[in-house]
Symmetry: C2
Subunit: 649 residues, 2 copies
């Protein structure tokens, strides 16, 4: 009794508080350790362990220590109290205990069989933080950064392929994974390895959808470092970014799929409702995200033209940019849509329009801010994954299930990449070569999204088993495949196949006078030209002039009768820009945004920019001319379609 | 009953979740509105409303709307349940309600008389966030940024005065405020305006200590914009930064002051224990903060010398810097010290040592990152203050008490500034003029710290009354005094008294060939020379060479027998720097760190730096020579003490 009284005293309140600090300190310590290790590795050009892998490793060790070294059983927790007077769970509960009123906050509903997990180590409980933190705090900056740093030119060039892999590929992967897992589960029940749980086909599909989100962060970091083929990079990056969005919405749609009668039987109505849900949520989130970005672009555009002193307040500009992007996430969540998807498309649109309106100082600030947030969030998630293996208290390890899942993940990835690549190659002028396909197959790592989706729902036993399995598959893929990227690239001879090169590489290539052959190769890459051409024309003629100070004035692109409106909306600077091709300046330079901590910045930035832009301008002009966009330029400049001349203009 | 059942359903869980998004969205909306308004104001050079004042105003309006427009009474909350089985309040409570187990998390203990406040609008409850958020999330970046952007040269020059105002001044202010309030409370009880609560003298002192934290953020922003005298700026800034730390520790010491017998009688033992507590916590926090900064400096220094590729990873460097600074806060909290004080001194030390070791890219990144975090946190706090007036549910408005507090605040400020200035002027060669004293008196705004200290404890009725009063005083001082800064400066003719000028201003002054008279004036400002000289000598000879790559090599400053150690610890670059005065380069340029969103950056940064550094170098060399530090330079350079020659070296 004496011991219990302690809770009421001041010291214990302090204790509650200080433990929060201790937990955060543990995370800080892990991250510092990770950074120092990676620093060392980078200095020795040791590429087998990326920071994410390192963070996971340190998390694992710390989890081990917390689990087996600290032991402070909390006597009271784990006991279920009956409160007959209560008929429901209110948001806050006031409880009178020995004449002291305590306030308790509603956390969640838990199943009866999980109650035992609450008994035991208080430290472990503290370290297991709320899954909603992933979705509301850690994932948004990662996803936004991905959208904001998308290599847009290459992305749009490969749009058709990327969309195919992301939508069709993820659906295929999800379905195959679900099917294989269902077969496995049935077989396991048959041989008695699994109790007769309620393991429906929808549960398997749920697992399939969450395991379909690829996260090749390790692979891409190495690609970037080694200057691997840009097309392969873009295909992988674009696929992984979009397929995260698809997998999140897919998982949500599957989890709310509720057939009326037998949950195992196929219910057409419920199925179509799920499909409708998927499309509705995806489209809604897309609209929400991009409309916030358009608002940001308009505000920064208005300020730029109306009040010329905008660039004097880069802090206000950065603040506005940050808050509006975050609002896109929150609005989508508040409206019952998917915030992560909204923030992804917000990022893409911000990079496409708003970025051009920002002052040079704000461009750098926003870039560095999101890069930093991405860096921290990513490492926290990977640290936490390592920790979770030991601190999460309801793990269900089933070796057969894990083995089955591993097999299913590979089969599903293969049945996504190879058939779709075959189909796409039928339509692509620039085929996706065999070794690229193998590399894409190999780069199907699972990471933050799969983990976050799995930890969101760990109430029932099947879900707990799925969570444990997902966690182990993440470990396996990040360490084994992530570590094996460099040998794999060498083995597949991809580093030697410099078909489309990075702008940086391009410069070097030009220096060694290989420019002519390079340009010829570039002109053959006109994939998904019709889709790109329609979008590009509309964007260039109407959206860019309206939202940025680039492109031709609206007065020349809109019909005659719109002239009064057009004149009002056109930036004065647009008239001046009429003769130069605005887009080459205003579409973000490929590497400007993705240039991260790996890149050496010995050369002062302005100098690099001025030399770089000349090269990229010439190159990009050629590509545009090649993509059938020279028509408009012909009209204005009378030089379009002649790449060499255009590049000199 | 039907209505209550709803809580269990899925929709309601969604509802719980979405409301979090809605609250954040409201804050985002308020901040966006604030930014847009301030943008407009800045463009029209309208200086009566600073962004903090604007944020507060918008918060107030939003609070009004939430309070009187949204009405969604939460039936269940506000009812106290008796749980006979429980003997204490465990950290998590599992409750079985109609066969569903719900998990509740311990939030706090509340007094019986506050239970009513819980009845009513659920939205209001949601908007009132946890006071610990202020201390753990919002204040640290603000305070760190203050420490990191301290104008060190001016700060150290006025160190004696600043320490006097901060320590002695805050103690005087706290004591007088407490005394006056105690008189007021006694009088109010006497005339029957106040019930006979337990309003002890310690409660009044508590109020005095929390109201002694000045926060002239508005004033300083205007000072910066108008280029007001640097000495006045430094005195005010230094005082407000340090006095926040003093007030926080003082409040803590007073709140744990517990005399054994009669709480109204003076208990010498308890008093000295409180004084000991104050000193211990302050010194401990100081040590914790600066030691983390020293570790950061050492790590970045080691990497710089041992692995030369450090500057290639500015992201890792920034991450390490951020995490170690945050760890200083968390470690202090975990050790039972005051995190805010630790983070303040961590910031000062980081700026003094680590900043010099960072790569140019990281210097800018850290600067901008903390500037941005400071900006957001500050505006969130001021928004929240506005909101709190309407959303906080246990306000106790007592006009007489509020009036008394206002009077007491001014009397206490006056009895701090004027007598201490008089005493300081006895010792200062460069006196603090009358109009400076009036301006310091006028600039005693109350802000974030006072509010955060007041909201931390609102359990008892006296504390609630104090909170309400503190909130209103913050409103009054920020709007009235903040808005009146520009007229007041004109009235006191301070803008015209350009005694010590800003480096920027200095350049202009030189352009109009007033340099000679300016320099003469600067040489007279040798206040607190002996304190500064001792510290500076030690810092320059031992700490700087050890922690940064500046200053003379340790081999020449340490005694002979230390040579092997010294050689090991000295950076190779230090030998090369021997002939040039390292400090002028490595003490942060005055405006480099504080250059914020107000500054116009039309001129490209490198160009500005190169022209600016010539001016500051010459000026600072002169000051150093004047402060008796020329002796060392004489020894090395044989030119010390001759300002004009030195500046050409």
């Amino acid at each position: 009794m004496e011991k219990l009284k302690k809770y009421v005293s001041v010291e214990d309140e302090d204790h509650f508080y200080h433990q929060g600090a201790v937990e955060l300190l543990i995370f800080n310590f892990l991250l510092i350790l990770t950074i120092l290790t990676i620093w060392l590795f980078k200095n020795h050009r040791f590429r087998f362990l990326h920071e994410t892998g390192g963070a996971m490793l340190y998390g694992l060790l710390m989890g081990l220590i917390i689990r087996y070294v600290t032991k402070s059983p909390d006597v009271e927790s784990g006991t279920v109290y009956e409160c007959e007077k209560l008929k429901s769970g209110p948001s806050t509960l006031l409880i009178n205990i020995t004449n002291q009123v305590y306030e308790y906050q509603y956390k969640r509903e838990i199943s009866h069989h999980n109650v035992n997990g609450h008994q035991g180590n208080a430290m472990l409980q503290k370290m297991t933080f709320d899954p909603s933190i992933f979705f509301n705090i850690l994932l948004p900056p990662i996803i936004f950064h991905a959208g904001y740093s998308l290599k847009k030119r290459h992305f749009f060039r490969n749009l058709g392929s990327i969309l195919t892999y992301a939508f069709l590929g993820t659906a295929i992967s999800c379905f195959f994974l679900g099917l294989i897992m269902y077969g496995f589960v049935k077989a396991m029940v048959h041989i008695g390895q699994l109790k007769q749980w309620e393991f429906h086909f929808t549960d398997c599909l749920f697992f399939g959808s969450l395991m379909s989100a690829t996260d090749p962060v390790t692979v891409l970091a190495i690609f970037h470092e080694l200057n691997v083929d840009t097309d392969l990079y873009t295909l992988l990056f674009g696929e992984s970014v979009l397929n995260d969005a698809v997998a999140i919405v897919l998982t949500h749609s599957i989890s709310i799929y509720s057939p009326k009668e037998n949950p195992n039987a196929f219910d057409a109505a419920a199925f179509f409702q799920s499909v409708g849900n998927f499309l509705g949520i995806f489209a809604g989130s897309f609209a929400m995200g991009s409309s916030y970005a358009v608002v940001t672009a308009l505000i920064s555009f208005m300020h730029l033209t109306k009040f010329t002193k905008l660039c004097e307040f880069p802090m206000l500009e950065t603040g506005l940019f940050f808050l509006l992007s975050w609002s896109a996430f929150l609005s989508a969540e508040a409206a019952g849509l998917t915030g992560i998807v909204a923030v992804l498309f917000c990022g893409v649109t911000q990079a496409h329009y708003t970025y051009n309106n920002l002052s040079p100082d704000s461009k750098m600030r926003t870039k560095q801010l999101f890069e930093f947030m991405n860096f921290l969030a990513e490492n926290v998630i990977f640290c936490y994954m390592g920790l979770a293996l030991f601190t999460f208290q309801n793990h269900i390890f089933n070796p057969l299930f894990i083995f089955g899942a591993l097999v299913a993940v590979f089969v599903a990835r293969a049945s996504n990449i190879y058939p779709l690549s075959f189909l796409l190659n039928l339509g692509r002028k620039q085929k996706i070569p065999r070794n690229f396909q193998h590399m894409m197959m190999f780069s199907g790592l699972r990471g933050a999204i799969a983990f976050a989706l799995a930890i969101r729902d760990t109430d029932s036993q099947p879900k707990q088993m799925m969570f444990t399995t997902a966690l182990l598959i993440v470990f396996f893929t990040v360490w084994v495949f992530g570590g094996g990227t460099t040998p794999m690239l060498t083995w597949l001879q991809i580093r030697l196949v410099l078909v489309g090169v990075d702008p940086d590489e391009d410069m070097k290539a030009k220096a060694t006078s290989q420019s002519a052959s390079n340009l010829d190769k570039n002109t053959t890459k006109t994939e998904s030209a019709w889709l790109f051409r329609i979008w590009y024309g509309f964007d260039h003629k109407y959206l860019k002039p309206l939202l940025t100070h680039a492109g031709p004035p609206l007065t020349s692109t809109l019909p005659e009768w719109c002239n009064p409106v057009a004149r009002l909306l056109t930036s004065p600077s647009a008239y001046g820009d009429q003769l130069k091709d605005g887009d080459t300046d205003y579409i973000i330079n490929n590497d400007e945004l993705t240039e991260n901590y790996e890149s050496s910045s010995h050369i002062p930035v302005p100098a690099q920019d001025s030399t770089g832009s000349i090269q990229t301008t010439s190159k990009e002009d050629i590509q545009e001319g090649d993509l059938g966009l020279g028509g408009y330029k012909l009209q204005l400049q009378h030089t379009g379609g002649q790449p060499q001349k255009n590049s000199l203009a």
